[in-house]
Each structure stands twice: as C-alpha cells, then as structure tokens.
C-alpha cells in the first residue's frame, strides 16, 4: 500500500455546477462551456503526457513510495547529511566526466594534460578544483553522516544491512581517493602512490601480489596509470552507483529513525497515562 499524496497534491473535487458542461441557463437553454484558457490547456497537456508514461510504466506507486514517505517527529538538519554526500558524489561524477575529456592517462603526458586543464582550458581550473576539493568534501561528509547514524543509533535493527552497505561505500570512496591521487602525476602524487602501493605490499602472503596487481607488474610501469584510471573512472564508480541505489532503497523501505531524545519523551507520556 503506497502512502497517500500530500494534501496539496490531491486532486480537488469540482464545485457543484462548476464544470460548465451542459449547465442550465435561463429559460431552459444550455450555456456553452467556457473556452479552455492557455493555462488550462497547459495543465491538461502535461497531465496527459504524464498519463501516457504512467499508463505504460506504472511508475506512480514507486514514486509515491519513494517521495511521500512518513518521517518521524524530530527530523532535523542532521538527516540531510546522506543527501549531501549523494550530491557530493554527483558533483564528482559530473566534473569527472568532463575532466576525462581533456585528461590523458599516459605516464609521459598525464602531467602535461592535467596542467593544460588548469592553465588553458576554459573554466578548467575551476572544474578541476571542484573535483579535487570535492573529493575531500565527500569523504568528510561520509564520516559526518556515519557519525550521525552511529550517535542516533540508526544502525540498529532492522537497519544493520544498510550500515554494512554504507561501510562498503566508505571503503570504495577511499579507494576512489587512492586511485585518483595518482592521476595528476606530479612528484607528490607519484611518491604518495608508491608509498600507498608499498603499504598494500606489507600485508602478509597476499600483500606482495596485491601490489603487483595495482602496479601491473613488479615495477611502476607504463600501464600502472591506465590501470588506476580504469579503476578510478569505471570499476569503482560503477560499484558505488549500484550500492548507493541499494542504500537509498533500504532507507526508503525501512524509513528513518526518530532522534534518540524523542524516545524519552514518549516514555514520560506513557507513565502519565498509567
């Protein structure tokens, strides 16, 4: 059963005698219905276009389920952190796609193409800056969102699975940070990546093989940067999009929690009644 439409969106019943169709005039004559105004036509056209899609997809229950959920009392600004993280991700995705139009993942050309984005391409410095600083913003927002979930107890039954998905998303986002850091290919990003790969190599048994996988060989080679680029813009973002879908589905399905301080209030109310 999908939730009801909010009051403002419900269709209004017509007032008696307001439809104009076949209304009785004086002396038993009928008055012609008034001509539809431009506004009426626009409303009617939009409604019929939406109706066309709705008839073929049956989307309405899903949209209603998604958009018109009941939220608990006490919902406050802390509940917007997940959406904020989502928008940080969208910003990264959009700026990343456009940066990819100018960036060349080649060890001899990566630095030049990245500095061309900054110095020559129109708004390049701004978009690259959005992507660079946005990555930090996204990671900070994830941790704040996680802290909110933790301190509000919103990870408890039945939301444990959503916490697990969220942790996987955190790890994937950190992986985005790791793989993206190499791409400007300046001294700092090169050496930071060397150190990061060697930290992976320090794991017993699998570590050395993991490092070989990341470098595509025993040494930092010609395909290391393309490998990082492919992980950064294809594999990991794909996984993130899929898991964000699952994350938001579960939020919709299970609803949000009330802030913890509201529970105390309710208990007081119960004792009063008894």
């Amino acid at each position: 059963m999908s939730p009801p439409l909010p009051r403002g969106l419900r269709p209004k019943p017509r007032r008696p005698g307001d439809n104009g169709n076949g209304r009785n005039g004086p002396n038993g004559s009928t008055v012609a219905p008034p001509k539809p105004t431009v506004k009426d036509q626009a409303v009617e056209g939009t409604a019929s276009a939406i109706g066309w899609v709705e008839e073929r997809t049956g989307l309405t229950p899903f949209l209603r389920f998604f958009l018109f959920r009941k939220v608990p009392k006490g919902t406050n600004w802390f509940y917007t952190l997940g959406s904020a993280t989502l928008f940080a991700f969208l910003s990264q995705a959009v700026t990343g796609v456009f940066l990819a139009m100018f960036y060349e993942p080649d060890p001899t050309r990566a630095y030049e193409s990245a500095s061309r984005i900054t110095n020559e391409v129109f708004l390049g410095e701004f978009v690259r800056g959005m992507h660079k600083w946005g990555s930090s913003v996204m990671i900070i927002l994830i941790f704040v969102h996680m802290a909110r979930t933790f301190f509000f107890g919103a990870y408890k039954y039945p939301r444990e699975l959503n916490w697990v998905i969220g942790v996987v998303l955190l790890v994937l986002t950190l992986l985005m940070g790791l793989t993206g850091y190499l791409l400007p290919f300046d001294q700092r990003s090169f050496w930071a990546t060397v150190v990061a790969v060697n930290i992976n190599a320090s794991g017993p048994l699998v570590g050395p093989y993991l490092a070989d996988f990341l470098r595509a060989g025993a040494e930092f080679g010609p395909t290391t940067i393309t490998r990082f680029y492919a992980l950064h813009m294809l594999l990991v973002p794909g996984l993130i999009v899929a898991l964000i879908g699952a994350h938001i589905y579960l939020v919709t399905k299970l609803g949000t929690t009330a802030p913890p301080w509201l529970k105390a209030e309710k208990k007081d109310l119960l004792t009063e009644e008894i």
């Binding site: 050496w191 060397v194 930290i199 190599a201 050395p208 025993a218 930092f220």
Partner: protein, 194 residues
C-alpha cells in the same frame, strides 16, 4: 526429474556458462600481470671503473622502466667492493661493485647518502641505514636493496635488483616493507613477476 526441473536447470546452466565465458577471460586478463615477468634483464652502463672507489658512494641514474620517461628512472649509489668492510657470503659470488638502490625498505621513499656520517637517510619516516645499507634506525624491515654488477671492457654495468636480509644474504627482489628474516620471510614469498 521433471520436465520443469530439466528446463530450469538448463536455463541456469546456460546462464552460468555464458557468465563464466566472459568473466573468466576478463579476470585472467586483469590478473595476468601478477603472474608474468615482463622485465627482461638489461645491463646498463654506468661509467668506467675509475669512476668508483672503495670508500665513498657516487650517485648514478639508471632506467628501471624505460617506456615511462622520468618516472621510470631511479638513482643508485655506487662504490667498489671493499675487502676490508664487505663480508663475502658463502655460496654467493661477490659483486665487483656495490650498487645500492635508493628505494627505502620501509615504504619505498628515496633515500639519500650523507657522506659526513656515511649513512643513508630516508626523508619520509626517518629510516637510517649504515655504510653497507644495513638498518641502523627507524622503521625499515631489511637492508637497502642492491643491483647485480659486472665489468665489461673496463666499464661497469648494472643488472637486476636483489634484496638482502639482515645478514646481507641475497634473495629475489622484494617490495619495500617485506621482511626477510626468520619466520617472517615465509609471509613474503618471492613473486613470479620478479
């Protein structure tokens, strides 16, 4: 077996085979570089024998990965074999020249040789190595790596890298951070790529 069961099984099997048919080759393609050694031994000339002496290190730049420009170059420190300081390990032919890699055995930052103290110092996390590359302080887990050396027509050439444990015994090249002493060495095996 029912007819329905057979059809369900066939559909599932066909889907499974189709999935494996693309995913296994793709996975093998992605993991392939772990299992092949794509770096052939190349001997690189670093100068005439007269350039190097027994008591101090001279920096040289060599190419580890030629295709990638400056990122593939690395600095090494060279000196001649010093019979008074360098011990000869039984069963291992002594190298005519000592070529020390600047890759720190902690996490791979470039170390620098300080002549005044005869030590190698890493800028990242404070690793300190003695004259022979042995660990004297900080987080590194083994001595600095070295390269094979040989002399051809009076000129010194540099070959493959190798790693050493704290007794300066030779091992196949390892990544920084991989221990080579005691039981630790079995947790960091030699890899097919080297």
């Amino acid at each position: 077996m029912t007819r329905r069961g057979l059809m369900t099984g066939t559909a599932l099997a066909a889907g499974g085979i189709a999935t494996l048919a693309f995913s296994l080759p793709a996975l093998g393609f992605a993991l392939g570089p772990i299992f092949e050694d794509t770096t052939p031994t190349v001997w690189q000339d670093v100068g005439p024998e007269d350039d190097f002496n027994e008591d101090t290190y001279v920096p040289r730049v060599i190419n580890i990965t030629p295709e990638i420009g400056d990122a593939g170059k690395t600095t090494i420190y060279m000196r001649a074999f010093n019979p008074r300081r360098d011990k000869v390990i039984e069963g291992q032919d002594p190298q005519p020249y000592v070529a020390i890699s600047t890759r720190c055995a902690h996490l791979g930052c470039p170390v620098r040789y300080i002549q005044a103290s005869q030590k190698f110092v890493c800028p990242c996390h404070g690793g300190v190595y003695g004259f022979e590359g042995q660990v004297e302080g900080g987080p590194p887990v083994r001595p600095l790596d070295r390269f094979y050396t040989r002399v051809e027509l009076g000129r010194v050439e540099i070959g493959d890298r190798f790693s050493l444990n704290s007794d300066l015994e030779r091992f196949a090249p390892r990544d920084p951070s991989n221990h080579l002493d005691g039981l630790w060495q079995y947790l960091y095996p030699a890899r097919p790529t080297t």
